[in-house]
Point group: C4
Chain length 209, copies 4
Amino acid sequence: MKIDRFQAFSDGIFAILITILVLEFHIPTYREGHLLTALLAQWPLFLSYAFSYFYVGTLWLFHHDYFSMLKRIDRNVNILNLLMLFSITLLDYPMSLVADALTTRNRADMQTAFIVYDLVALFISATFYFMYLYLHRHQELKNPAVTADFYAVIKFDPVRSVSIYGLAIVGTFWSIWLGAILLAGGIIFHFLAYLRMSKQLALAKGSAA
Amino acid sequence: MKIDRFQAFSDGIFAILITILVLEFHIPTYREGHLLTALLAQWPLFLSYAFSYFYVGTLWLFHHDYFSMLKRIDRNVNILNLLMLFSITLLDYPMSLVADALTTRNRADMQTAFIVYDLVALFISATFYFMYLYLHRHQELKNPAVTADFYAVIKFDPVRSVSIYGLAIVGTFWSIWLGAILLAGGIIFHFLAYLRMSKQLALAKGSAA
Amino acid sequence: MKIDRFQAFSDGIFAILITILVLEFHIPTYREGHLLTALLAQWPLFLSYAFSYFYVGTLWLFHHDYFSMLKRIDRNVNILNLLMLFSITLLDYPMSLVADALTTRNRADMQTAFIVYDLVALFISATFYFMYLYLHRHQELKNPAVTADFYAVIKFDPVRSVSIYGLAIVGTFWSIWLGAILLAGGIIFHFLAYLRMSKQLALAKGSAA
Amino acid sequence: MKIDRFQAFSDGIFAILITILVLEFHIPTYREGHLLTALLAQWPLFLSYAFSYFYVGTLWLFHHDYFSMLKRIDRNVNILNLLMLFSITLLDYPMSLVADALTTRNRADMQTAFIVYDLVALFISATFYFMYLYLHRHQELKNPAVTADFYAVIKFDPVRSVSIYGLAIVGTFWSIWLGAILLAGGIIFHFLAYLRMSKQLALAKGSAA
């Protein structure tokens, strides 16, 4: 199987998801002449949207760079990828839930919303773990320039992410804001892990050239 | 006609449909502090969504592998494909209907929702049947490595699917849960049929290489 | 400018539009146990959806075949194409309007909805007219195998379409059903015109080979 | 990194955004028999939609031509591009706000809506500024035919745009209609700047050939 159509399909899903997030913005009901106040009260939605956009964007960068090291794919990669994309498309819903709960400021509801977001993020990282593992066991799919050194650098990233989101779930029971910080930290961690992976991949390809 | 643009257009529709399914998740109205209870009551939506995602994903895998055996397409393939994609995009609506009916638990409404889903699934399988038939009669469009043996293996799949969904419609009148199991069975059958077709196709291509 | 990215962008818009039409299906409010009755009352939506899908699908087939005769595009083709796609994306709204008006059965509202649909269809055909004209005057963009004979066959199609929709507007004032038949006739005419253009194009390419 | 997947992903986002703008059209509540009056009262939505479509279309043309001068991209271009696309997807919301505020005709709300639109437009132009700057400092990414002359012509465009939108914000406090004209002027300026850039690029490529 050639990798082009696989990438185009995945890119399509990423592009659609990252764009339809904006559909969650709805004009709030407001007293005439008070649109400004109503919009300022929507800061949780903007925050949740900006973070989710950043998160999905980072996942796309990951997907883009990571799969560029493959020579070809097989059926199982296709199926694992569908599972990964399934977990990522789910993000649209907790984004709204977090925005909504931050608006009402109810403690129990904020806990619920953050934990749902954490669970989806944990699920996403778990699918990356399975993908890494599968491709590690099927070296024949990879570009030979990308060696075991590369895998050694990245293999614990999904485990780290899962741990951060697991901690975030526990932390949320203790304190909403600790939970929020851990969730944001998880997303920022992905971005840093992406930068490192990307550099490592450039090295691996460069040394082979 | 070249096959690239045909595949890209089809992939686009699959990618969009599979992503916008998530737009059916709406925050339920809930008493402050009871978001968790409200979310748990949404299990039918999650179930219906997960099954429909799995279904559309399987249909994409089918489409992806099946059309990879063509050398080129003609106008009729393009038109039949639009009909196939029409039937598939319809799935978004019965997905919501099933989720909604499972939430109210009204027997008559659940019957209606399942039967609408069955009818759309039956329609999808029927379009596959016509596509298989057309391509069987136009061997000049196919990669010569893919022989009559391959067709012999897959040709009854759409007939089997249509039968399962037909049975599901009848079964739903008798018992909702029998109907639900047959519907789920039909979707799982597609996945198994995909795995078999995919193996067969790899064999056919391999023996020609 | 290469034609690939132009086609991919256009295909993307067609694929998205044809898929999001389904988002206009909303679960009607219904008395528990009467979902079936409520769904059957949605026949105008299904009809309007099926026609609009068929219409957008036909426009895609046109776009697909017609632009396959170009060697390259220039900036003006890109801009005219954006205008054409603008007119086509508008279709989503009159589709809903027609469905809604057919549900209430109010004569004045049905007239309004049909005329809005006619106006959008007329606008679409007008953009095709300008595209045909522009490309006729810039033969250097075309595949040399596609000669003036081809243009002679197709050049009046947009004029014919504009006339049909103009007639449909006038007819709607006289009788709703006459207006509906003319509108449906216009859409079916596009499909027949597509079939003819497609055959003519195959001839032109064949005679050059 | 190859530029194809980068362009396809960006094109996907542009195509989706420009198409989903139409989802903001909703059937207004109207007294039976008065659909026409209700639709005519939606002129602000149509106007805001048409302008936003034209704006996003122009941004796509820019993106399309501008990045055609690159030989390859690096990670930072990918990240800057995600930021640029983030700013562009935001447009969907102020489009609705402007349409809504123009419908109620409340002065304060119209000011708010226009200023939100201006801020998003200013943000978009700022991301273009950073992209221009980054690529100016990384000539190794560019097609060598595109020289410093080209950059000299275009480098102040984002600064000009930012100034126009800054003026529009100030102007809106003074007079709604002045603000509206400046906003519309900014969007038209983009189109003219695009035409100039596109000609300049054709010259640069031509002189190298």
